[in-house]
């Protein structure tokens, strides 16, 4: 307490005559106590660190700026019609993004239809049903799916999934559910259905890990209360757990949707890349991300490039809205309770 290097003028006691001198001596004795250089150092440090923080903001501003300025040409040429027209003709410089928007939405929707029940099932199984011993390895393996690069998913889809689809799954679907119109046409394998399935595999780890997190913050006494009323385990899960975690699960689903909308490589490799709007899921399609991947580096002409950047801008805005929505929903459930602590 009575360190002469740190005079407290408001306290009684021996006050050093030359504080700076004593401080200097202390600094010589203890290397960490560089009191003299501290203030300037602090100022430099704080501004450097703040600059790093501002850089994050700057990057986002830069992204928005580049996308907006570089798409202005196409925006002025086509206006809102750009999103409603369906002809994509680089030669006559007519650009409409509807087929790509349709492809993105439909492939993501197919992915959600497949992925949601599976991911919620996995999350329920790992948190509520499986033996404690299996819990961690199981969630580890599911999350391992998220570590595989998307181009490897695409490779696997081309050589394993697509032949499987065209050889067995699509003929079967056409025979049993062909009357819906969703499963008709020649079974190429490549097309909207393949893209949806590969997307589903890619978003399952996201949805299931968030659902798991949300289920874990449901208080234990909720489960006990429902069980005490004589419920079976499934009734307990349905009434006591899933109902409480609804908003968070929806948040996880939307976060998965955000990922599916922007996914590029795997989809580009199996969707067929044809800008057409077809009702059948067997037909080839095209997504916003795929058209960028395929045509951006070969785009000739300013309007063409500008139209592509506008698709990028639209994709950017949609994913931001979707992600923000998801974060708010997850946050309303896990608020105040860091899920990490329960893991």
């Amino acid at each position: 307490m009575a360190n002469p290097a740190f005079p407290r003028p408001d306290m009684p006691g021996p006050q050093p005559v030359a504080a700076a001198k004593v401080g200097g001596e202390a600094a010589e004795r203890m290397p960490l106590l560089q009191t003299s250089g501290g203030e300037a150092g602090d100022r430099v440090f704080q501004s450097a660190i703040t600059a790093c923080g501002l850089a994050v903001l700057g990057v986002l501003v830069l992204i928005v700026y580049e996308l907006v300025t570089r798409s202005s040409l196409s925006w002025h040429a086509f206006g809102f019609k750009f999103f409603a027209a369906s002809d994509w003709d680089p030669v006559s410089e007519q650009f409409g993004a509807l087929p790509f928007i349709y492809g993105t939405l439909v492939s993501s929707l197919v992915a959600l239809v497949i992925a949601v029940p599976l991911s919620v099932g996995v999350a329920v199984f790992t948190t509520e049903m499986c033996p404690k011993m299996l819990r961690n390895p199981l969630s580890f393996f599911v999350e391992l799916l998220a570590a595989i690069p998307s181009v490897i998913y695409g490779l696997w889809a081309i050589f394993v999934l697509v032949p499987l689809l065209s050889g067995y799954v699509q003929p079967f679907l056409a025979k049993t559910m062909g009357w819906t119109g969703l499963f008709s046409g020649p079974p190429y394998g490549i097309g909207m259905l393949a893209a949806g399935i590969i997307l589903a595999i890619m978003i399952i780890p996201i949805i299931s890990s968030i659902t798991r997190e949300v289920l874990m913050v449901v208080p234990q006494h909720q489960r006990e209360a429902v069980l005490a009323l004589g419920a079976t385990r499934w009734e307990m899960i349905r009434v006591g757990v899933l109902r409480n975690a609804r908003a968070g699960i929806v948040g996880g689903i939307i976060l998965g949707l955000g990922r599916a909308l922007g996914e590029t490589m795997a989809v580009t490799m199996v969707i067929g890349n044809r800008p057409e709007i077809a009702k059948s899921l067997f037909a080839p399609g095209y997504t916003m991300a795929s058209v960028l991947a395929n045509e951006f580096s070969e785009a000739t002409g300013d309007t063409y490039l500008s139209a592509l950047v506008e698709i990028g801008l639209a994709l950017f805005l949609v994913t931001i809205v979707v992600n923000a929505l998801a974060r708010v929903l997850v946050w309303t459930v896990t608020r105040g309770q860091p899920a990490r602590g329960h893991a």
């Binding site: 960490l32 150092g41 660190i49 790093c52 992204i63 690069p149 951006f296 990028g312």
Partner: protein, 296 residues
Amino acid sequence: MPETTAAKTTAKTTVPPISLRRRITDRVMTGLAVLTVLLVLAPLVAIFGYLVYRGLGSLSWSFLTQTPKPVGEAGGGMANAIVGSLMILAIASIIGVPFGIGAGIYLAEFGRNRLGSTIRFTADVLNGVPSIVIGIVGYAIVVLYQHHFSALAGGAALAIMMVPTICRTTEEMLLLVPQALREAAYGLGVPRWRTTLSIVLRTATSGVITGIMLAFARIAGETAPLLFTTLGNQFWNLRYDQPTAALPLQIFVYANSPYEDWHRQAWAGSFVLIVLIVTSVAAVRYVVRRGSFGAA
């Protein structure tokens, strides 16, 4: 015990037995949950199985040491793409890691204000931006100024993808360091910058490095941002300002080609890519665990 007597009296007032329908529903639902787990694990097993089976089977010495042969000619390898990938990843890390850690320190130590929340939200938004859009930005800010495709452009695009992940994990890890440690340092008269760098950051080293590895693993397999930034190259290139081959790009091109030999090479390339990601993550974790006394 009052509880047991209470339980006995309620038991006497006869709880109706659980009906058969409810019991069957319970069983069916349990069965369905197990089924979903099997359905989810099946593709995982299939993908890794094929990677090892086709990838390892197609791997050869020439694949690792030679550059691609001209179209239609069998043989050749991806040596230039492997080195190119390492180069692009190094550029991305050199740019992205310091900014990410710096921004994380800002959020943890100075970020309890409106600017802090804004940056936190921005980082989360950046995390959700599709990688292909980041590629457009890399093209716009580097390629258009240099007037040609380059490894630097790809590295810059990947760096943008690294920053939000590193930033948020660094913040989380620094906040785990007990406040008392900071107070102890201030009490000894250690200046704030020194406290943050040599005490707080040092304590959280292993957690911060885990965050860096997460970001690294995420960008190592990224293809979309490289398509129109590094473009790819059939030959050796070790210059930062020239078009460069990258492993994921090469896999993409070869997988879409009609040649059987290129398909085999795509599988081998995927295997090398996965091994590259896993070993780099494991190696860094091993070094960190041995070399420091970090928390977490």
